[in-house]
Amino acid sequence: MDKRLRSILFSLIGVLVFFLLIVWIGGLINPNLQLDETGVLRFVFVGIGLLIVFVIYALTRTSPVWEVGTREVVYMAIGAALYAVLSFLFNGTVFAVPSVSQVALRPAIAIPMFFGYAFGPVVGFFSGAVGNMFGDALTGFGLSPQWSIGNGLVGFVAGLVHLFKDKKRSVDAVLIASALLAALATVIFFVNRNVPNMMFFDPEAGIFGDATISLFAGLSAVVGFVLVLLVRFLFGQNLDVVAAVTWSLLGNFLGIGFAAISDIWINGYPPAVAIVGEFLPAAGPNAIFAAILVPLLVVAFASVQRQTGR
């Protein structure tokens, strides 16, 4: 491992140790301290997310997908700016999804997915993370850095397809992994279907908003997966389209899953609430956007590439 890699690794571990020390020292000062109340935990999960990215990079650093030249820098900026603008437009002007927290229908998620697939994991990660950060800032959503990292992971995972020599085999493996994740989330939905605290997290008072999420929202991850499966078989001859949607689907499940699961500790949600009340309303519609919008972008981009020769 060269000096630069070591310094990045040590920096990330240093950040995590710093926050863990705050937990430890804070507990000594104030035994009743709940770390989630301090907001510090958000940054712990930022560190964990970055560490995940770094470990994958360190394990595959000889691959050319990690090279960042002029083209990648510009695409990073374009992806992030487009994601920010579209997030701003759709966060504010379309509608929020009934969920336990602030979740909006976000067709813009197709941007980091597409940029990750088309230009690699670095571009995908930057587009998702920085774009989400700017989009939230423009909308006035406040600060949710762990969700920015989660969005970054969506684009990052979509770009990992380029680490595999045989795209077709990778697609099948990714589909199986995605099927398992979608099934798991849906089973958790059905097991907790009658728990009336998935929308506004106020089960005791019997008041406005005290309801379960709808059946369609609960099944949306499976619906998204089925759509991707349809794309897999209908566009089987166009490997680019198939690979883009399947890897985007996995990126969506893992990235949004990371952010939702982090809220178990950050917001104190029970695991079922994090999965059913947050992950499904966000990741389910995202999967549908992946299945419909990403193929359109891939096809349009391929056409442009043919015309320009670049």
């Binding site: 960042v68 006035g140 600060l143 106020d202 008041i207 406005f208 359109l296 981009f301």
Partner: protein
């Protein structure tokens, strides 16, 4: 053609500092704001944001659209929070109910009920003040930070050259793509496409968004070739980058950074000692009795 934010040099508090110093202070301020839920602490931070706004030298007519959009958005979500208590249960375990309004009808077996409790009102107000504080400080940045200094500012904050330049370009592209999106929407409208009348199920709605998202994205990628060529011709990324403008910290910049970092440390210490947690004013509790 790139469109820029409405930056212009102004005699203002923000612009009297090095942009790096202001960004560091801004980040410290944001971190402080998210540490607290006590309205009294949040009001102190909100007052600081107001000082920054009123000394920014930015005229109301310049920021009107941004304020109206963000203000409307925040008020809407705060009202929703007030109605539902959404998110508040993380902070309080019991509610002192001031008034309960029950609808005289049911929807699919569910009877809409509106509960106004002391905790719910306090939480909605705290949420509104908190988000307004964050938005007020954030909204000033594009109006006050010289676009020519984006790159050197991020580089000066310790980001690698390529990431700093990526951030620079991102901030420059945002208003341009906003304009492109508007132009595309107008062009599609001229062809009979009406975003406001999007109807049908979820799949139909998503499919109908394609005439907006695909052209803007593909146009951005195609147009970027000129930028890539220009950067390549200037040997971007070949060696360490130099910047036309140089930034130098002055004593006032160091003082601002020290103030921001000091404020953050104090806020972290207060938070660790249990100060600044959710607080309900006594008069609201009395109303519930």
């Amino acid at each position: 053609m790139l469109v820029t934010w409405r930056y212009r040099p102004r005699k203002s508090l923000i612009q009297s500092f090095d942009p790096r110093a202001w960004i560091i202070f801004f980040l410290c301020y944001i971190a402080c704001t998210v540490l607290f839920w006590d309205l009294r602490y949040l009001l102190v931070l909100f007052a600081m944001a107001l000082v920054a706004v009123f000394t920014s030298g930015i005229k109301w007519h310049e920021m009107r659209r941004a304020w109206l959009f963000i203000g409307g958005f925040i008020l809407f979500f705060s009202f929703l929070t007030l109605l539902t208590g959404r998110g508040g249960i993380e902070l309080y375990k019991e509610e002192h109910i001031i008034r309960r309004l029950t609808a005289g009808f049911t929807l699919l077996g569910w009877r809409p009920t509106l509960v106004l409790s002391a905790e719910r009102i306090a939480y909605a107000v705290a949420m509104m003040v908190r988000v307004f504080s964050l938005a007020s400080m954030t909204i000033l940045i594009p109006y006050s930070l010289n676009p020519a200094l984006y790159g050197v500012t991020f580089r000066g904050l310790g980001l690698p050259d390529k990431v700093a330049y990526g951030m620079d370009l991102t901030m420059r592209f945002i208003p341009s793509f906003g304009r492109d999106f508007q132009l595309t929407m107008d062009a599609q409208r001229a062809r009979g496409y009406e975003l406001e009348k999007i109807s049908g199920g979820l799949f139909a709605q998503v499919r109908k968004l394609a005439p907006l998202i695909v052209p803007v994205t593909i146009h951005a990628i195609v147009a970027s070739e000129d930028i890539i060529d220009a950067m390549d011709l200037r040997a971007f990324g070949v060696g360490p980058r130099t910047w036309v403008d140089e930034l130098h910290y002055r004593p006032r910049d160091r003082a601002l950074i020290a103030f921001g970092v000091g404020m953050l440390l104090v806020c972290i210490a207060l938070s660790l000692w249990g100060f600044g947690k959710f607080w309900v004013p006594d008069f609201l509790l009395r109303l519930a009795q």
